[in-house]
Every structure is written in structure tokens, then in C-alpha cells.
Amino acid sequence: MFSFLIRRLLQSLLILLGVSMITFVLLYWLPADPVRQIAGRSATAQTVQNIREQLGLDQPLVVQYWRYLGNLLQGDLGRSYLQRTEVSTLIMSRLPASLLLMAGAIFAELLIGLSMGVVAALRRGSRTDQVLMIVSFVGVSAPQFVVGLLLLYVFAVQLHWFPIGGYGTFSHLVLPALTMGILGSGWYSRMMRSSMVDVLRQDFVRTARAKGLTRRRIILRHALPNAILPVIAMIGIDVGIFMGGIVVVESVFGWPGIGQLAWQAIQRVDIPIIMGVTLVSATAIVIGNLVADVISLMVDPRIKIR
């Protein structure tokens, strides 16, 4: 277990290194000059040149990358060009909100998706099953911005059940988490359904029935833990998908997460922030996958640690 973790961690570090390298190159190629953004519209050519030198942006790409990497190893993500603040401060101030949202969303989508999937599997072939699957499909296909605004309009503006955007309490979390969760729950319900259908056919479920266990116990204790195994691996992939949706959802609900930070930074080519956010979300994804692996390792005793 220990050596497995170490090995996976090393692998993850390599992946992060690759991500940082590719991002760096891509940003370098971007047809936009960050220095002009900083210098502003009244700047003279002299000022622009000064700033370029001070930021080291006149150096060759390799040198810039090497320097970045050196700083990174000391935990220094650099300073935002436009906000003039440590990128790490900016990210740290926003990360908790994003993580909370992500946790809420994962919870929501697992709750909705898994229960829809289980119900559909238990009633497979019935009308309920068909309706649930269509609902899940609409969930997958509906644009998040529209879903978010609709939820906001109905539940916050009209019904006053939840606050209109903002951050702080549990009731602030419900709608944004739900918005993000709806997309994922569509995926999960389909996966869970087929997985559950498979498991319910297994011999050990028959054994459990032969033992005289209650239906509830058979479903919760025997079928569910087995059916959920293939779904766990999906959670790792999911973190990546979240990173895309987070921009939209955070802006609809005024959620102070890194999505908005990234969005602003991309618009203004604030390279240190883009780099920082990329690395942080890549780390989140890598950790997500790692956690998914470890969870399946813990839940499924059959997986051999290679």
C-alpha cells in the first residue's frame, strides 16, 4: 500500500510537470501580449520595455520556464501581472470555496445520480425506468448556465427558499451544487443503472436472498457496494469535468471560487494566474484520481496493488 502510494505520487508529480510545461508553451504562443495589458493605454514604448524586462518576459522560453519551475519548488507561484498580488494568496483565498462547491456537487450528483440509477435498475424495463433515463439524459444535455439561472429564478427569486447567490452558509451552497450536480447525475445514473443491473444478476445476491436477508439489506449491503465500484473510478474523471463547469456556475451564483479567477485571468492574459490555476486544477484532478484509486482499493479487496 505504502509503496503503491509513493509510486502513484511520483507518477502524479511527473504528470504535473508535464502539465506545467505544456501550459507554459501554450501561453507563450498565445497571440496576446501581457505587458501591454499591464502597461495600459498611456504607456510609452519605454515603459513597456521596462516592464517586459522586469518581468523577465524578454528571456527565452526555456529560461522563463526554468525560473518558474525554480520558484515553484519553493512554493512561489509568482505574482499576478494585473492584480499585483501573490498568485498563491489569490488561489488560496478562493480554493476553499471551489472545493466546497465541488464537494457539494459531488455529493449532489452521487445522491441524485446513484439513487436514480438504483431505482431504475430495480424497476428496469418499467415506465419509471424509462422516465428516469430520459431525465438523466436531459440533465446531461442541458446547458449549465441556463440550468443555473432557472434554478436561481425559481427557487431563490420566486420561492425564496434559497438566497440569490452568495457564499457562506449551507443554503448558499444548495443551488450551485445542484446546478453542477445535475450534469454529473445524468452520467452517474446511467452508469449506476447498468452496474446495478449487472450486480443484481450475480450469484452472491442470490446467496444473500437464500440466507433470508431483507430486501433492504440485500440492496444496501450487498448490491450497492459492488455496483458502486465501477462508479468510483468515474469520480476521478469527474473532477476534470467539474473544472470546466465551475467557471459558469460560480459566475451565475457569485460563488467566490477559482473559476472566476481563471476566467478573469484568461480574458486579460494574466499568465501567472493562468499557470497557477491550471496547476491547482491539475493537482485537484490528479488527487481526485488518486483518491478514487485509493477508495476503490479500500472498498474492493480484490484489487491487487501492482
Partner: protein, 594 residues
């Protein structure tokens, strides 16, 4: 508690009131064409302490009968349409599900055929046992744990304490089946239904499990319904037998009577197709040894097991160690041994599926030294038939195409010629050419194995490797397939490398036999030598373990085996000891034992 001598030894008491009474049971399935009955008018009674065997070939309705008793038929498609099932006066069919749940596991328990899949893979053995107990007895977790442990001890599980916290995949098949038995008997049910409890197990393990069942049943006085298609098991275990065919009872009677004087034709045929030890009438002795087709010298196959941070090789599975043998044209060479001893690995090495060291010479050429094209050509001479015909046929292809595949791969003939050839092959193995358009799942197991044989024959090979090719088949079907193989040897001079764990079958079909243990051959010789004069202790044990389809046979006592087979996985520096084979006369090789 189990096994304590507080109950009187539950010998079979024919006149006591039956504990289970099944009358006129009909189970039907809902199809598009309406109700179709799967079993019809089944009636029997089960007395306390009695063992009733239900025998019959696959699909005859044995499992459906037992599931009906358990109330576990898959609703709503399959249901009981007529009849009664009474457990001591209670009609089980009229009970609501909640009451039925109390009876299941408590008063009627069941053991299933597949020990590998019948246990929940993500729960510990202990949890699964305690759960069963707690479902019926209002006791605490700790007490349930104690009782589970007792149950495990009662089934003679080694290291029961440790097993409690292990997961099913960490146990061998035999051990898992013991867990199933412990689970079934922990609550001392009145009736135990064992549906093919040993079919998936090795002979030696089967032996142990059967003995265990018998001992426990005797001690507890449980009435048992034993479902099996193996007449040997029936003969050894049962007091009474029911023979089923196509959902109907064909014959019922005392086991001795039935074996000695079967009344119905079907029963007679069934008994006739049972391979029996000691009547290897099918094969003639020796005399057939032609040129050697395959020569295997110093064959070694090892699998690396990696571990640690950098994935270095830490262990090695010595699947095959230093194996030497020849196969001659037209002969059937059999490899026998317990699961995991390396039989399949040898087959795979021959078929080019695993890398090996040592020499494999086919038709005189050493495969390693050939170019790819030559190797491909030479491989045509060696074809393989696998254990599970379903698994070895691509389920998404039509069987006609599957049989034509080798011809396509080796670019033999035109399209028309190929289909003609395939039709001929189909005909040869007893299938109709019209069936070429179907998919594998549309055939029965025996038919599928014929398709595999047809496919192996397509290239007119000199050697066919049959890896457990008949083990999964019903006795009757098995007999037919074996018959077909024998005919082919005579007609085409095909040699077989016949791999099996079933000593009875091996004795029936083989010319020469090699017994394997832990990757090495421990005894080799012609059939008469190995079966008639087994020298190695392991060979003797294998032979002794085979159930004898004769209820009058008295098994010599004292041959109980201890523990599981040791693992061929070893640390890197720890190479296994090589057995030395000594010729004790006329080519009968036996490993030296210390």
C-alpha cells in the same frame, strides 16, 4: 455447537414423517408465446436425515426445482403455477415474502454450484457468516462472531480465526465452498439443498467437501437434497435418487436399486455414459506410437510478479518447471493434476500463447528458431480446444464464420471452397450446415464444443490440444464429444494432448498419461502403468479421490488430505527443487520421493 453430540445421530429413518413434501409442482415461464412449463408435476418427499439426490442432465430442471422450494424463482417471469411445497405442514407457496424470509437460511438452507461467485467479494467471510446468523437469531454482533467461528471450525476450515477477516478471493475454491456450507449449516436447518456443490471443484477437493457434507449431515441429522449430474457423487452420497429429464421426473428409487436395475431407458443411458475408472475399454493399449509430432524438452514457464516502488520483480511463479515429454502421431497423451499445477500453461506454451524457455519441437522443427511466417505455418499443425466453448468463441460472430476463420487467416481456398469445407466440417462433427448462420449463444454446450472441434480441424492439424475440453459438459454430452474425438483419431490420425483433472475420463481416453504436481511431472507412463500401478503418492491420491458410480463400493478409509496445495509462487532466490524422474520399467517414469 454444531457437531456437538447432543443430537442423536440422524440416521435415515424412512418411516418418520417427511420434513419436506413436494407435490405436483409445476413451474412455468412467461414467454411471448404464453406460459411454458419448465418443470411439470414433480412430487417427492424428503424424510429427516435423508439424502435425496436429484440427478439429470443440464437443463432438466434440477435448479428450478430447488429454487422453487427456496422461493427464489426470478419473479415475475418464472413462477410456480401448480402444486404444493410443504415444510412440516406449512405450505411454503402460500407464505408471504416476510414469513418466507424467516424460513430461508433458517429452516431451509442452500449451497450453490459456483463457490467462486456465490460469496460477496467485498465483504469479509466473518461478516457474511454473522449476517446470516443475525438475520434469524436475535443476537449481538459479538455472539454472532463466536458462532460464525464455531461454524467455520465445524467445517474443518484451517485457521478459522484468520479466515473470518479474509475476503472470498483470498480463499481457494474448496475453502469457499466450506464457507458456504458453514453458512448454510450454522443455523441447523431442517433441510439443506446443495445444488451441484462440488462440480466446480478439483477431484481431491470434491472428495473432501463430499465427506464433510456427509459427516455434518450425519451429525446434525439434516435432511439434504443433493443436486448433481455426477452419478459417482450420487452413488456415494444418496439414499434415494430422483432422475429428471426435460422438466419431468423419470424415475425415483432407492439408490442401490436404481444403479443395479434402472427401469427407464433414460436412466440406463445416463448410467451407461458415466465414465468409470477401470474400464478403459475405448482405447487400445500401445501399438499406435507413430513418429513424434511434438517433443518438449526442459520446458520452463515462469511468470514474474512485481512489487515495490519501482515495480521490480520480487517473486516468480514457477508455473512449469523442467517438463519433458513427447507426443506421437495418433496417440492421446493426457496431462492430469490439480488446479494450478501448470497443465494449461504447458498447453499455452505449445500453442505459442506464453513465452517459455526450453525446446518445443513440432514436426521436427524448433519453434524458437523459425521466422514468423514459418512459425505461423508450423502452428497450423497444433490446434487448441479450450475448456469453456462459450468463452473461446467470439460471441459476436456467426459460427460458420468462426469455423472458416482459420482458413481465412491462412488464406486457404476461395470463398466458395471455404464454405464448402465448413459445411463438411459441420457435418463431420454432427451439426447441420443450416446452423452455420447462428451465433454461439444459440447452441448448447455440447454443440459449442463440437464447433470448437470443427474449427480446430479446419486446418487439418496433427496435434489437437484439448484443455479440459469436456469438463464443463454433461456426462451424456461429454461421452458424445469423447466419442467424436476418438473417431477423429482413427480417421485422421490426429494426436491429442488431453488435459483434464478428471481421472475417470483420462483413463477412458488416453494412451499415455503424465501426472503433474506444482509445475512438474511426477509420474508418466502408459495408461495401464499409471492407473494400474500408480507409484507416486500424489497419483494414488488423485485416483482414490474419484467418486465411484457404484453405491455398493466401499471406499477405503484413511485417505483424507490435509491442507491446500502449496503455491508455485516463490521468491526470486528461492528456486524450486527439481524432481528427478526414474524409469521403473518399460518407460514408466516416477519422480523420486523423499
Amino acid at each position: 455447537m454444531i457437531g456437538a453430540a447432543e443430537k442423536p445421530s440422524g440416521a435415515y429413518a424412512p418411516d418418520a414423517a417427511p420434513v419436506l413434501q413436494v407435490s405436483n409442482l409445476t413451474v412455468s415461464v412467461n414467454t411471448e408465446a404464453g406460459l411454458k412449463s419448465l418443470i411439470r408435476n414433480i412430487s417427492f418427499s424428503l424424510n429427516p436425515g435423508e439424502t435425496l439426490a436429484i440427478a439429470g442432465e443440464s437443463g432438466s430442471g434440477k435448479s428450478i426445482t430447488s429454487l422453487a422450494i427456496m422461493g427464489l424463482l426470478p419473479p415475475p417471469v418464472v413462477r410456480v403455477t401448480e402444486g404444493q411445497i410443504c415444510l412440516n405442514e406449512t405450505d411454503l407457496l402460500t407464505l408471504p415474502e416476510t414469513r418466507m424470509r424467516d424460513i430461508r437460511g433458517n429452516r431451509i438452507a442452500m449451497i450453490f454450484q459456483e463457490p467462486m461467485t456465490s460469496l460477496n467479494p467485498v465483504m469479509t467471510i466473518g461478516a457474511q457468516l454473522s449476517e446470516a446468523i443475525m438475520a434469524h437469531d436475535p443476537i449481538g454482533r459479538r455472539e454472532a462472531h463466536t458462532r460464525s467461528l464455531e461454524a467455520l471450525t465445524a467445517v474443518r476450515m484451517s485457521q478459522p480465526e484468520k479466515r473470518m477477516s479474509q475476503f472470498p478471493h483470498e480463499l481457494s475454491g474448496g475453502m469457499r465452498q466450506r464457507v458456504m456450507i458453514a453458512m448454510a449449516l450454522a443455523l441447523r436447518p431442517d433441510v439443506l439443498i446443495a445444488d451441484e456443490p462440488t462440480t466446480a471443484l478439483d477431484v481431491t477437493v470434491q472428495r473432501e467437501v463430499l465427506e464433510l457434507l456427509r459427516d455434518l449431515q450425519r451429525d446434525l441429522g439434516t435432511a439434504m437434497i443433493l443436486i448433481t449430474h455426477d452419478m459417482g457423487v450420487v452413488a456415494e452420497m444418496a439414499d434415494r435418487v430422483i432422475v429428471m429429464q426435460s422438466g419431468q421426473m423419470v424415475e425415483e428409487g432407492n439408490v442401490k436399486q436404481l444403479f443395479q436395475a434402472p427401469k427407464e431407458d433414460y436412466t440406463k443411458a445416463l448410467l451407461a455414459s458415466v465414465p468409470r475408472m477401470g474400464d478403459g475399454s475405448g482405447a487400445q493399449e500401445g501399438g499406435k506410437a507413430g513418429a513424434s509430432i511434438a517433443e518438449i524438452r526442459n520446458l520452463k514457464v515462469r511468470f514474474d510478479v512485481r512489487g515495490g516502488i519501482f515495480g521490480r520483480v520480487t517473486h516468480r511463479v514457477h508455473a512449469v518447471e523442467n517438463v519433458n515429454f513427447d507426443i506421437h502421431a495418433g496417440e492421446t497423451f493426457a496431462l492430469v493434476g490439480e488446479s494450478g499445477c501448470g497443465k494449461s500453461t504447458i498447453a499455452k506454451a505449445l500453442a505459442g500463447l506464453v513465452p517459455y524457455t526450453g525446446q518445443v519441437r513440432i514436426s521436427g522443427s524448433e519453434i524458437h528458431s523459425l521466422t514468423r511466417a514459418e512459425a505461423k505455418a508450423i502452428r497450423r499443425d497444433v490446434q487448441m480446444i479450450f475448456q469453456d466453448p462459450m468463452a473461446s468463441l467470439d460471441p459476436r460472430m456467426r459460427v460458420g464464420d468462426l469455423v472458416a476463420e482459420p482458413l481465412v487467416i491462412h488464406k486457404i481456398g476461395t470463398v466458395a471452397e471455404r464454405s464448402e469445407r465448413v459445411a463438411m466440417l459441420f457435418d463431420r462433427v454432427g451439426l447441420s450446415a443450416a446452423q452455420m448462420e447462428r451465433y454461439p449463444h444459440e447452441f448448447s454446450g455440447g454443440q459449442r464444443q463440437r464447433i470448437c472441434i470443427a474449427r480446430a480441424l479446419a486446418l487439418q492439424p496433427k496435434l489437437i490440444i484439448a484443455d479440459e475440453s469436456v469438463s464443463a459438459l454433461d456426462v451424456s454430452v461429454q461421452a458424445k464429444v469423447l466419442e467424436l474425438m476418438r473417431e477423429l483419431t482413427e480417421e485422421m490420425g490426429v494426436a491429442y494432448l488431453f488435459i483434464s483433472h478428471d481421472m475417470a475420463v483420462v483413463e477412458n481416453i488416453s494412451d499415455r498419461v503424465a501426472v503433474m504436481y506444482l509445475g512438474q511431472i511426477v509420474e508418466m507412463g502408459c495408461r495401464a502403468q499409471v492407473f494400474g500401478n500408480p507409484q507416486h503418492a500424489y497419483t494414488r491420491r488423485l485416483i482414490a479421490a474419484v467418486p465411484v458410480p457404484d453405491p455398493t463400493y466401499e471406499r477405503p478409509a484413511g485417505l483424507r488430505l490435509a491442507g491446500d496445495i502449496p503455491s508455485p509462487m516463490r521468491r526470486l532466490e528461492d528456486a524450486p527443487k527439481l524432481a528427478k524422474l526414474v524409469d521403473i520399467g518399460e518407460g514408466h517414469l516416477v519422480a523420486m520421493q523423499d
